[in-house]
């Protein structure tokens, strides 16, 4: 039996540091920018850690969660979302979603690390956390469950990614399933961290844990589209028929999920308007200090513009998808900010009618907070661009001998066989039964 030999040195599609060296100067500049951003952010964050956060951060006694928590939530929401949307393919067997799995799981891990970088600069005693979370756990604390489950989630996602690279689909599917279950549990617990604070009516209730899951799925769809189309800009070769179909499928599900979030947001406002505790905060979102955040970023950039553009793109205009999802990522960031900060602007003593707390509280992020947040974002950016090159656009190359009459499917990486007189494309159509 004769066959063509595929280069085994490129096992797992790994092109190594050499791929980075071969990158164009512009590409290197972009990566360098993100590395600098990470280092600068980390330096400023460490400075804040040493001089004491209360000297340099804008958070106060009453607004004690600020930009860093918003950025952390943005990262972990996106991470969970990438896991949820990609699991439709490689866990539940939705054929159309399969080609996006590798990039999605990779980015999910990267976003999780980015989130952890950011939370490191918000927790006052991050080193104590490692000890006391283990030896003095409080099982009724959502914060404890959130931290613990996210740790487990990260481990499962990394094992899953290993098996995805190793082409062990049975184990990657199993690990993906556990990762999904734990990720959903962790993420709804994050919602419950807010939703179970009775003193904060804007957050309190089952709404946030549920909203967080759907919102995560929407962010995940958006992130997959953004990073896939950006990958296509970097290396057009990553697109093939299966990938195009996958982008189309993810576009469809993202349009659906944006509609779900519009529905959620509408009812949050309508029901909140008749609640004494929420009405004041909602008015500040609708007409007050947070109106620009809400209308321009959250509603326009985060929901309606991408909804319109994604429908216009029909799932095959990649430039349009790239722009709309890129703007949507910014909108989604403000969506997180609009949950965290407005939830705290009404003092707990406001309803008592006292002079001291008659006004809503103010919060403005400081330079240190912005830079510490950017350290995580910089890391994510760098890891993405490095990953695109080193992992060869997340394409698989089978490290085995391809028999005669067979070829490596550019979409799924498996070996397909052509029948008599059939072209590769026809064989692929028959093999995947998707057209």
């Amino acid at each position: 039996m004769t066959g063509r030999i595929v280069n085994i040195s490129k096992k797992w599609g790994f092109h190594g540091v050499k791929a980075l060296q071969d990158a164009s100067p512009g590409y290197k500049a972009v990566m360098g920018f993100f590395v600098l951003l990470t280092l600068a952010g980390a330096a400023v964050g460490l400075h804040a850690l040493f001089v004491g956060y209360h000297h340099v951060y804008g958070v106060t006694k009453q607004i004690s969660w600020g930009l860093l928590i918003s950025a952390y939530i943005f990262c972990v929401v996106t991470s969970t979302g990438l896991c949820i949307v990609s699991s439709i393919g490689h866990v539940f067997g939705g054929e159309a979603f399969m080609p996006i799995a590798k990039r999605a799981v990779f980015m999910s891990i990267v976003f999780m690390f980015g989130g952890f970088c950011i939370i490191f600069f918000d927790i006052e005693n991050p080193f104590r956390m490692a000890i006391w979370n283990v030896i003095s756990p409080n099982f009724v604390s959502n914060m404890w469950w959130m931290g613990t489950l996210y740790g487990a989630y990260l481990v499962f996602m990394m094992i899953e990614y290993y098996f995805l690279l190793d082409q062990n689909h049975t184990l990657s599917r199993l690990m993906g399933f556990f990762g999904l279950v734990i990720g959903v549990a962790a993420h709804s617990n994050l919602g419950a961290v807010f939703g179970m604070l009775h003193g904060r009516p804007f957050w309190y209730g089952p709404y946030l844990p549920i909203y967080f899951i759907f919102s995560a799925a929407m962010s995940g769809g958006c992130a997959i589209l953004f990073f896939t189309t950006l990958g296509w800009k970097i290396n057009p070769e990553i697109m093939n028929q299966r990938m195009e179909r996958a982008v189309k499928a993810v576009t469809q599900i993202t349009i659906f999920l944006i509609s779900v979030i519009i529905f959620f947001t509408s009812w949050k406002i309508i029901t909140g308007m008749v609640s004494e505790g929420k009405q004041l905060v909602l008015m500040s979102l609708l007409t007050g200090d947070y109106a620009i955040n809400f209308w321009v970023f959250e509603i326009f950039l985060g929901m309606f513009l991408p909804l319109y553009l994604l429908i216009r793109s029909r799932g095959n205009n990649f430039n349009l998808i790239l722009w709309s999802t890129g703007l949507m990522m910014i909108g989604i960031f403000f969506m997180r900010y609009d949950i965290v900060i407005p939830g705290q602007i009404e003092s707990v003593y406001h309803s008592l009618g006292v002079v001291e707390e008659s006004h809503l509280l103010n919060y403005t992020p400081t330079f240190h907070e912005i830079m510490a947040s950017l350290s995580g974002i910089g890391f994510i950016g760098f890891a993405y661009f490095a990953g695109e090159k080193m992992l060869n656009g997340h394409q698989l190359e089978k490290h085995e001998i391809v028999p005669d009459g067979g070829y490596i499917c550019p979409g799924c990486g498996a070996i397909h066989f052509m029948e008599e007189g059939e072209t590769e494309e026809e064989a692929m159509k028959r093999h995947h039964r998707i057209w």
Binding site: N125, N138, W144, M196, L197, H198, V348, L352
Partner: protein, 275 residues
């Protein structure tokens, strides 16, 4: 099978005379119980009692109901507070509270159109809730309910500084202390005074008017017990809807009730240590 023939239209009214007094009482009790006003429920449903509320008397029965012994509590008589801030100064000095934080403070409420006074001062501090949201929220049990006294205390070395407790607290009673590298809060001066045998907290000892009264809610002879268990005085807590079962009770504290309880003592020079 035969049924007795009863025609309801022609049936004679038996009158209320045939119902026994006992049955009537049962019926009334049921109605009042459902309405929630049964035997003083309107006052004591706000207090930390778990289970049934009692109107008055039955001291021995009440003691069993409080979950801690001594069950430390503070009663704040709002009308007596003059906003001199001696309590805040005493607290800051006793507990080395930094400038950017506070363990207690006094809020001001203004009224217009009232004839007797236009301003009222409301001292606030940690409510040492029986159902404390901060204790539930803490991931590492760094804050906990003391099993003996019911004081919500901090074990600073376990605090990771996530600040969830600060947001969980519906009384805004916590701040992050950079000096302690942990969240700090009122502990009824346990570390600085009570554990050293003193009977009063810094703030209550410093209060010149008796607006802050500190004591043991399980002791029927204690001033706090006497203030809370009055049918004629309205006693309330802040943010009752959060159902945290707080241990800081508020009342107006008018002259009559104060005189009654303190056996003719002048409230302005009231010494809480006197029997």
């Amino acid at each position: 099978m035969k049924f007795p023939k009863i025609n309801f239209d022609t049936l004679k009214n038996e009158g209320t005379g045939s119902i026994t007094a006992r049955e009537r009482r049962k019926f009334l009790k049921l109605g009042l119980g459902i309405a929630g006003v049964y035997a003083g429920g309107k006052i004591l449903s706000l207090t930390s009692l778990i289970g049934t509320a009692h109107a008055s008397g039955g001291g021995a029965e009440l003691i069993k109901k409080y979950p801690y012994n001594p069950h430390y509590s503070m009663v704040i008589r709002q009308s007596l507070c003059i906003d001199c801030e001696k309590c805040v100064d005493a607290c800051n000095e006793t507990n080395h509270v930094p400038e950017y934080g506070y363990r207690t403070r006094i809020l001001t409420k203004k009224y217009s159109g009232t004839l007797d006074k236009q301003v009222e001062f409301i001292p606030v501090l940690c409510n040492h809730c029986n159902n404390a949201p901060c204790v539930r929220a803490c991931p590492t049990k760094a804050t906990y309910k003391d099993p003996v006294t019911g004081i919500v205390r901090m074990e600073s070395k376990k605090c990771i500084g996530c600040k969830t407790c600060m947001l969980a607290c519906p009384y805004d009673a916590r701040y992050f202390s950079a000096e302690r590298r942990a969240v700090d809060k009122c502990d009824f001066c346990w570390d600085k005074r009570l554990s050293k045998g003193e009977k009063q907290t810094g703030c209550s000892a410093a209060c010149p008017t008796g607006a802050r009264t500190f004591g043991n809610l399980t002791d029927p002879e204690n001033i706090v017990y006497k203030l809370v268990h009055q049918l004629e005085e309205k006693v309330w807590v802040i943010r009752p809807a959060d159902d945290t079962k707080p241990n800081i009770f508020y009342m107006k504290g008018n002259m009559r009730s104060v005189d009654n309880i303190l056996n003719e003592q002048k409230f302005k020079y009231f010494d809480p240590d006197k029997a």
